[in-house]
C-alpha cells in the first residue's frame, strides 16, 4: 500500500482527504502510480496527465523523499520508502501567483 498526497483542488474533485492509499501490482513507477490513481478515481483522468499523450500537465509536479521527480522518466522506480508506505508520493500544483 502506498500513500499519495493530492493537491487541494484534486481532493475536492475526487471527494477524498489529503492523502489516498493505493495498491500497486507490479513495479512501482511514476506511471504505475498514476495509472492506479486514475483507475481508483476516474474523475482525475486528464487532470494530472494529458488524456492522449499521457504527458504530465505543465503545472503539475511530482515530489517524493525530498526529491523533485517531475522531469524523470515515467518508468522511474520510486524510492523504497514510498513503496513501503513510510513516505508519501506527492502530486503538487506548481507554485504560481503572488
Amino acid at each position: 500500500m502506498i500513500r499519495v498526497i493530492l493537491p487541494y483542488h484534486l481532493r475536492t474533485l475526487a471527494g477524498v482527504g489529503k492523502e489516498v492509499e493505493l495498491e500497486i501490482a507490479g513495479p512501482l513507477t511514476l506511471r504505475s502510480v498514476l495509472d492506479a490513481l486514475e483507475i481508483q478515481y476516474p474523475m482525475l483522468g486528464g487532470t494530472i496527465r494529458d488524456h492522449v499523450t499521457r504527458e504530465r500537465r505543465p503545472f503539475i509536479r511530482f515530489f517524493a523523499c525530498g526529491e523533485d521527480l517531475s522531469l524523470e522518466s515515467p518508468d522511474l522506480a520510486l524510492p523504497d520508502a514510498v513503496a513501503a508506505g513510510r513516505e508519501p508520493f506527492q502530486i503538487v500544483g506548481a507554485m504560481a501567483g503572488g
Binding site: 493537491p7 487541494y8 483542488h9 484534486l10 475536492t12 474533485l13 474523475m43 483522468g45 486528464g46 487532470t47 494530472i48 488524456h51 492522449v52 500537465r57 503545472f59 503539475i60 500544483g93 506548481a94 504560481a96
Partner: protein, 371 residues
Amino acid sequence: MNGVRVLVGTHKGAFILTSDAAREKWDISGPHFAGWEIYHMSGSSVDPDRLYASQSSGWFGQVIQRSDDGGRTWQPVGNKFVYDGVPGTHLWYDGTQHPWEFKRVWQLAPSPTDRDTVYAGVEDAALFRSTDGGQTWHELPGLREAKGNLWQPGAGGMCLHTILLDPGNPQRILIAISAAGAFRSDDAGETWRPINRGLNSGSELPDASAEVGHCVHNLAMHPSRPDVLFMQKHWDVMRSDDRGDSWHEVSGNLPTDFGFPIAVHAHEPNTIYVVPIKSDSEHYPPEGKLRVYRSRTGGDEWEALTKGLPQSDCYVNILRSALAVDSLDSCGIYFGTTGGQVYGSANAGDSWKPIVRDLPAVLSVEVQTLP
C-alpha cells in the same frame, strides 16, 4: 411558471441564484467548484433539473460536471475532448501556422429535444457532441474543414463560444468562433459553411470582407423566428434575415457598437439587447455609465436602459456569455459583470437591481425558467 434559476459562472466558482416569479427575493447558493474557473453552465429544457458546468483550471485542465437535481449535487462526467484525426494547424497571432491544442470548454448547449444530448464548444475551436449525458464526447470534425487553417485566436483565445440549436429543426446548428466567424450546419453538424457575408472587419483583417476570420463575439436567435439572427461582432451589431446567408449592420444610434453579448426578448422577437463597451482597447462602458441598450425594432433604433444601473465611475466589462433572459410573462433579463455584480430586471430592462454585488468576475450567466 413559478420561478427562475440563474446559473452564474465566475473566475472562482459557480453560483446559483433562485427566485420565485416575482424575482424580488433571491436565494444564492455557492460557490460550487470553489476556486475553479466556470466558463459556462447550462440547463436542459427537456429536464430542467439536469445541469452541466464547464469547470477548468490552468493547473488541472478541463472537468465537466453534471447535476440531475437542479444543482444541489454534482458528479464529474467525461472530460476527454480529443480532436478527430490529426487536427492540423490554424493561424496564430503573428500570421504563422500553429498546432490545434485543446484548452477548455467555453459553452455547453443541451439539446432542446433529447435529455442526454449536449454540445460543447471548445478552445481551440471545435464542436463536440455527447449523446450520453456528458460521459463521452465526439467531435463534429466537418466544422474544422470550413477553412480552419485560416481561423485565428482573438484576445480570449480561439474559442467556439456560441452554439445555437434551432428547436424547430434539429438539422440546423449555428456556431460562432473568435476569430473565425459564424458557421452553419443544415445536416445536424455533418457539414458546415461560413456565414459571414456582409461582415466588415477592415480594422482586423487584410481583406475586410473575408469569408472567415471575423471576430464574432456573440449570436442570438428567437426560437419562434430562427431565420432571423442577431450578432454582436467585435465592432458592429449585425442582423441577418436569411439564416446567416447575409448580414447587414443595425448599430444605428448606439454610442459605440463594440461589445460582447447580445440577447433577444423572450416574447418579442424584434426586441434585442446589447451592452456597449467603449472600444477593443478599453473594455468598459463609455463615460463610466453602465447602460444596456434595447431596440424594439430589431436594431438601428436603440434606447438606453439605465434605471438602477451605475451612471458614474463604472469600469466593468460584460462578457459574451453573461447576458440572458427568462421567459416569464414579464420577460426578465440578467447580466453579470467582471466586477462581480449580477443585475436583474423583471420588466424587460426598464429598471434594474443588483441580485448580488460581490462575486468573483462573472464569466457567464444563463437562466432557466422553472415550471
